[in-house]
């Protein structure tokens, strides 16, 4: 029920904004919606399953490139091309996940970072297929019942509908046995295995789900901008996705969306700062990590409901010391 209300609020605010703001702001809103789809996906891996992924942008890029290649080289409709783009990206994540997810913490972060860099190298150098650094231009836009989603406003409406649907699905998964199992793996994987959960399978499932959402974001991005190049999916974008999730509030869908919107608009609002923006951004993220470890959403719920958990595994760690 709460998630239905949340999605309704998202749609109402989005629709209202779409009618009053400038064309330029509409474009930013579209970018924010695309980022939000990707970050809601990242929340499965990082927020629920506790997998630090610094390669999320590679999956956004894989989805975008498959769609772009199928539409521009083979003349497929973007709707049709989105199907192999999303499914193919999910499969790639599952296949990569089995070896990759044996790693933990920093090692996993480094490995996924490497994955993202490798993706950039392939996209830059496989010129026949990807156009190299020139990218792929003239990607056709989406059409609905003969109407092309050409303007920023119609695209925003469509993007909001996609985001709302995917957020609802994410909320259902969050509350299902699978969501609980992912969070159990995050909290304590040994205890999760003792409780009868297949830890590897839950991790791969979370990673694959996050890649599926990323691929949808990639398809939206490609059909919105009509042009993609390797720079659009560099590891810097992966770090931004992670920052969006942490700033908004990890392990919450509302936080993922809020963080994506805020960090899309913040550089624009602070344009006066020029190059100093990055310094400001770094300090802001640091301040949030220290003072608001549960993000903006955590701040809101702290006043409304139960207090935020302290360092969750501290109590367990203390007793580890007495192991025989």
């Amino acid at each position: 029920m709460r998630s239905l209300l949340g999605v309704a609020a998202l749609l109402i605010v989005g629709l209202a904004l779409s009618l009053i703001v400038s064309e330029y702001t509409l474009r930013l809103l579209n970018l924010a919606v695309v980022a939000a789809v990707a970050v809601v996906g990242l929340n499965f891996a990082f927020g629920y399953a506790g997998l630090i992924s610094l390669g999320h942008a590679a999956f956004v890029g894989l989805g975008a490139y498959v769609l772009a290649i199928l539409t521009t080289k083979l003349g497929w409709s973007p709707w049709l091309a989105a199907v192999p783009a999303v499914i193919g990206t999910g499969l790639a994540a599952a296949v990569l996940g089995y070896p990759l997810l044996r790693l933990k913490g920093h090692y996993l972060a480094l490995a996924t970072l490497g994955l993202n860099v490798s993706f950039g190298i392939v996209a830059t150098n496989w010129i026949d297929l990807t156009g190299g650094t020139n990218g792929i231009a003239n990607i056709p836009g989406l059409t609905i019942a003969g109407h092309e989603l050409s303007g920023e406003r119609p695209f925003l409406w469509f993007g909001l509908a996609v985001l709302a649907a995917l957020a609802l699905i994410a909320a259902v998964i969050h509350r299902s046995r699978y969501g609980r199992a992912m969070m159990a793996v995050r909290d304590d994987e040994t205890a999760a295995a003792m409780t009868g959960i297949n830890v590897t399978r839950m991790r791969v499932a979370a990673f694959t789900l996050s890649a599926l959402y990323a691929a949808v974001a990639g398809c939206l991005f490609a059909t919105h901008i009509h042009f993609i190049s390797p720079d659009d999916f560099s590891y810097a974008h992966s770090i931004t996705h992670l920052a969006m999730l942490i700033v908004g509030g990890e392990a919450t869908i509302a936080g993922a969306i809020l963080g994506a919107v805020l960090l899309t608009f913040l550089p624009e609002w602070l344009r006066v700062l020029g190059d100093a923006y990055l310094a400001f951004f770094g300090l802001m993220t640091l301040a949030i990590l220290i003072f608001l470890p549960t993000g903006i959403v955590g701040l809101a719920t702290r006043w409304v409901r139960r207090p935020a958990p302290p360092q969750a595994d501290a109590a367990i760690g203390a007793e580890e010391a007495s192991r025989p």
């Binding site: 999760a192 958990p309 025989p324």
Partner: protein, 235 residues
């Protein structure tokens, strides 16, 4: 029901269990006692599938367990309430309990009877069902760990130091509940440093010292054994 024969387990070069042989028969409660570092927790973790076996075998209901993963063993009916409780701090009490039904429960299946039994055994958990795991006291966390193991519909319950870190009165309360679980007919293997509590609830016991079984017998006999009295009961 459970048999370990000549079980050897090592962490790298350090051998933690040297050829341990142990039997747990259906319906009985067996206590495994011994000092810190004797290998008690290692043995339980090995039965659960968390440690690699270097030599020897484990069987459950007559079939070998050796190649099965941890979660397959839970499916067969071996549930483990681990040392240090290890409840999920970010999940509520109820979520912690429901999670443990995943080995047997099909999607959408009911678990009302199981959770009602756990709440009857530990009414405190019912009061706190919506609280997050980290906010429970030590005693409540121990109850939750045992309750979580019971939710898996076990046929063999492994309890690792349920009295650890609890005030004496709370430890007695937890053991009173273990006694009730025992009377319900469940087979229990309990690891414990608090020898008095463990031998009071058990039918039989094994004494483990530096990875070897040095003594075994009926709980009543062990309580009278001068070696046990001197080393573990302080008399």
């Amino acid at each position: 029901m459970l048999g370990c024969s000549d079980l050897t387990v090592a962490y790298g070069d350090i051998v933690a269990l040297h050829g341990v042989t142990l039997q747990v028969r259906a319906g009985e409660t067996v206590a495994l006692i011994g000092a810190n570092g004797a290998g008690k927790t290692t043995l339980l973790q090995t039965i659960s599938g968390l440690n690699k076996v270097r030599g020897g075998h484990i069987s459950f209901d007559g079939s070998p367990l050796d190649s099965l993963s941890c979660e397959r063993r839970v499916r067969l009916g071996i549930a483990h309430a681990p040392e240090g409780r290890r409840i999920f701090p970010g999940l509520t009490v109820e979520e912690n309990l429901v999670l443990a039904t995943s080995p047997w429960r099909p999607p959408g299946g009911r678990y009302g009877d199981e959770i009602a039994q756990v709440f009857e055994l530990f009414p405190r958990l019912k009061e706190r069902r919506r609280q997050l795991g980290w906010s429970l006291s030590g005693g409540e966390q121990q109850m939750l760990a045992i309750g979580r193991a019971l939710m898996a519909r076990p046929r063999l319950l492994l309890l690792d130091e349920p009295s650890l870190g609890l005030a004496p009165r709370l430890a007695e309360e937890v053991y009173e509940r273990v006694g009730r679980i025992r009377r319900s007919g469940l087979t229990i293997l309990v690891v414990e440093q608090n020898t008095v509590l463990a031998l009071a609830v058990a039918d039989r016991g094994y004494v483990l010292e530096t990875g070897r079984v040095v003594l075994e017998g009926a709980a009543a006999e062990l309580k009278r054994d001068p070696r046990v009295r001197e080393a573990y009961l302080g008399r």
